[in-house]
């Protein structure tokens, strides 16, 4: 096969690769501080050393993921300019403000994380140490907030005009650009899904220990805290996901129509789950839920939903994003059910919630949640195609013209594989060499 070097394709691949890798660590970076804060707070309030140890051990593992998050974040920050110079030129004029604010959020987070990690036993009043974590929580969620605003702007750009003659950007209104129609749902969904995923990942770790036959109450407390949080976050994720659908129906109908394989504009539109598409765009083997798409899009079974056939043909994203949406939503419902089963079982008290079946499902929940994050992002980003800045700039016009992007793709692939491998190895070793029981014993109950 003859392949022609096309920097656009390689730039897309390299961007997706770096972001798909970064988002794993970014999600943990946003969610885990919240969980650490919860654990430390409960530990102090109830004077329960187990929760304090939980906070301490989570924080220790967190240092490793933060490091990888920071370096991959630095990579994406540089790569955006290296791979999409024309986009960044426009972005610099119009949406630089939240990017700039993000760096302050990073500073804030980094400074207090450094302090927090090294001051466990330095203050007489334990609450002082807890307060040092608050800026970390605010900083990491704020950085997700600001960067997601940039992404929202790419989906629903506003707050500037393009001079018809010179093509220059004029009349810039930074705040209008920041608070575009995509911002509320996007930011809320990204934040809460990060909390959900982190809760499930931590729950999975506790569940693994219980499955391995460790019976210490420490693990049960960890599981309870994480699963109750996960239930709350999963309900939130689904509600805000539903609102995101309404946003799409209003502002990016092509993304919603492509995701739902909705061809004809109709009211009382059904939602299709799964299935395959024949050559004539007929849906086979799909599960049809009557009226559900109208409800997702507009909150009413009789509402009209615009179909693919009534939208400009060259602005329809690839139809395979349908599967990305379905997988994300199915995982969302699954996670909610797992958490619900645990919490209800726990409340009723008659039933052993630490049975192998449920524990295994919880362990599975961590990777599933992370997959939902990946699917969700791929859906959102590919669903924006062919635009990089919807309505203003096409992806193909924004990419670098530089040679060697293919080589860079290869080099970064190798780099990320090595980083992922070492990261997992180091974290596993950290906890294997020093299990919680041992730490509880060595601290003699004083954590």
């Amino acid at each position: 096969m003859l392949s022609v070097y096309d920097p656009v394709i390689f730039s897309r691949l390299l961007t997706s690769l770096t972001l798909a890798f970064h988002i794993i660590f970014a999600t943990i970076g946003v969610g885990v501080p919240v969980m650490i804060a919860l654990a430390e707070w409960i530990g102090i309030k109830r004077n329960d050393p187990h929760y304090l140890l939980l906070a301490r051990r989570w924080a220790r593992g967190f240092t490793i993921t933060v490091a990888v998050g920071v370096v991959t974040g630095t990579a994406i920050g540089l790569q955006l300019s290296l791979l999409w110079p024309k986009f960044m030129q426009v972005a610099g004029q119009s949406i630089a403000l939240p990017l700039f604010m993000e760096t302050f959020a990073f500073f804030f987070e980094a400074i207090f994380l450094g302090i927090y990690l090294y001051t466990w036993d330095r203050f007489k009043n334990r609450m002082t140490h807890f307060y040092l974590l608050i800026p970390v929580v605010i900083g990491s969620s704020a950085s997700a907030f600001f960067i997601t605003i940039v992404n929202a702007f790419m989906n629903a750009p506003q707050g500037f005009d393009v001079d018809a003659l010179t093509g220059k950007i004029i009349n810039v209104q930074p705040l209008v650009a920041m608070f575009n129609p995509a911002t509320p749902t996007k930011v809320a969904h990204v934040l809460i899904s990060a909390y959900l995923t982190s809760a499930f990942v931590l729950a999975g770790i506790a569940a693994i220990s219980l499955l391995r036959g460790r019976k210490h109450v420490y693990y049960k407390k960890a599981l309870k805290l994480t699963m109750v949080s996960a239930l709350i976050f999963s309900i939130g994720t689904a509600i805000i996901g539903d609102l995101s659908g309404k946003y799409l129906a209003e502002y990016q109908p092509e993304k919603l129509a492509a995701a739902e394989w909705h061809f004809e504009t109709t009211d009382q539109a059904p939602l299709v789950i799964g299935g395959i598409l024949t050559e004539n765009n007929e849906i086979k083997y799909g599960l049809k839920i009557p009226l559900a798409l109208s409800i997702l899009a507009h909150g009413s079974p009789n509402a009209e939903v615009i179909g693919i056939n009534d939208l400009p043909k060259d602005e329809i994203p690839p139809l395979w994003i349908h599967y990305m949406f379905d997988l994300m939503a199915i995982i969302g419902v699954t996670l909610m059910l797992i958490a619900l089963t645990y919490v209800v079982g726990q409340r009723l008290g008659k039933w052993n919630v630490h049975n192998k079946g449920l524990l295994r499902l919880i362990v599975l929940g961590g990777p599933l949640a992370m997959l939902a994050i990946e699917f969700g992002w791929i859906f959102a980003e590919v669903g924006r195609q062919p635009w990089i800045l919807r309505g203003y700039m096409k992806t193909t016009d924004a990419a670098t013209t530089s040679g060697h992007v293919d080589t860079m793709l290869l080099v970064f692939t190798i780099l990320y594989i090595i980083l992922a491998f070492t990261c997992v190895k180091v974290i596993r070793k950290m906890f294997k060499n020093y299990p919680a029981e041992e730490e509880i014993a060595s601290r003699g109950g004083n954590v």
Binding site: V70, W84, L99, F107, T119, R122, V172, S402, K425
Partner: protein
């Protein structure tokens, strides 16, 4: 002061901040590995770790700040540098990635892994050299615009004596700045054995630093005469920089006033760095981008400056707290307080 001058000054201050804190950090990583192979490990590694652990992430943010701020204030830089820097930029990213992650792996995770220590020591030492390519390119002569497309002249870069002198200076000054700082830190920690070792490093790297600086100064003359002449106009700054150097080395030599010695090192680099920067103006990328024509729109400029001031209000007290807890807390520095 006009907004564009304010913008570039703020960015330059942060780049200077990065230069200092990153040099300390990267050089310390290098010495940490060096002490491992020369068998001085027990003497200086604990001290280095105590200083580095709480601050390395903050160091990285200085760089991000500069990068994002540059694109915010001067959006066209994204276009020119973005197109031309793919390879050098990616090399810097890879080095930063290795350095940051293996530092964490080795400090928080698998302790005493020699290979990890080597990776982060070596990669850190090379980062300033990789990043310095941006400054090298900014002098002009390495980019051509052909049919409206930016093209980078790799051969011109590799065969340029100017480029190599800058790389040399980057490699050497990292070790100089770092060892000067560690000398002060060891002294404060009352760690006499470590002090003797790092003091030797500091003195050993002082002369090469000056030689390398002079080489850069004169090789600019062949590369970009216009810039060289503006530097000569500002020569008083470089003279003061040299005097600061003499004072700093004298103090270290005499083992007195070591805190001041490091302050003078900071002055030495401040005068040289701002002298270089001021004479570089109005160009950001000679001759394509200058601060007047390629500044962002006024609304964005005001918004960025406002956010910057608000950000500083948040940042300065936090940084102060960090320094108070770790740098100026005698008990912590001496290793009597640990996590």
């Amino acid at each position: 002061m006009s907004y564009e001058l304010l913008g570039i000054t703020v960015l330059w201050i942060f780049l200077y901040g990065y230069l200092i804190v990153a040099s300390i950090d990267f050089g310390a990583g290098f010495f940490s590995y060096y002490s491992e192979i020369t068998g001085n490990k027990q003497l200086i590694q604990p001290m280095i770790e105590r200083y580095l652990s709480p601050v390395w992430e903050v160091t990285n943010v200085f760089l991000i700040f500069f990068m994002v701020g540059l694109i915010g204030f001067f959006p066209d830089t994204a276009y020119y540098y973005g197109t031309s820097l793919l390879i050098p930029g990616s090399i810097a990213v890879i080095l930063l990635a290795i350095r940051g992650s293996y530092y964490a792996f080795s400090t928080y995770g698998t302790k005493n892994n020699r290979f990890y220590l080597f990776l982060y020591g070596a990669s850190g030492w090379l980062i300033p050299a990789a990043l310095s390519t941006v400054l090298i390119i900014s002098e002009g002569g390495f980019i051509k615009v052909i049919n409206g497309e930016v093209q980078f002249q790799y051969m011109a870069l590799f065969t340029s004596p100017y480029a190599w002198t800058v790389v040399g200076l980057a490699l050497i000054s990292v070790l100089y700045i770092s060892s000067m700082f560690l000398t002060y830190y060891a002294y404060k920690a009352k760690d006499h054995k470590a002090f003797e070792i790092v003091r030797k490093y500091a003195l050993a790297w002082s002369l090469p630093t000056i030689v390398a600086s002079l080489l850069v100064f004169f090789s600019i003359r062949n590369h970009n005469v216009e810039h060289f002449e503006r530097m000569v106009d500002l020569s008083w700054m470089f003279v003061i920089s040299f005097l600061c150097f003499l004072v700093a080395v004298y103090f270290v030599w005499k083992r007195v006033k070591l805190g001041w010695a490091f302050v003078f090192v900071m002055f030495q680099f401040a005068f040289a760095f701002f002298g270089y920067g001021a004479s570089h103006l109005p160009y950001i990328l000679y001759p394509y981008i200058n601060i007047h024509e390629h500044f962002t729109n006024e609304t964005m400029a005001i918004a960025l400056v406002t956010v910057f001031i608000l950000g500083l209000l948040l940042l300065v007290p936090s940084l102060y707290l960090l320094m108070r807890l770790f740098l100026f807390d005698i008990k912590y520095v001496q290793g009597n307080k640990n996590s």
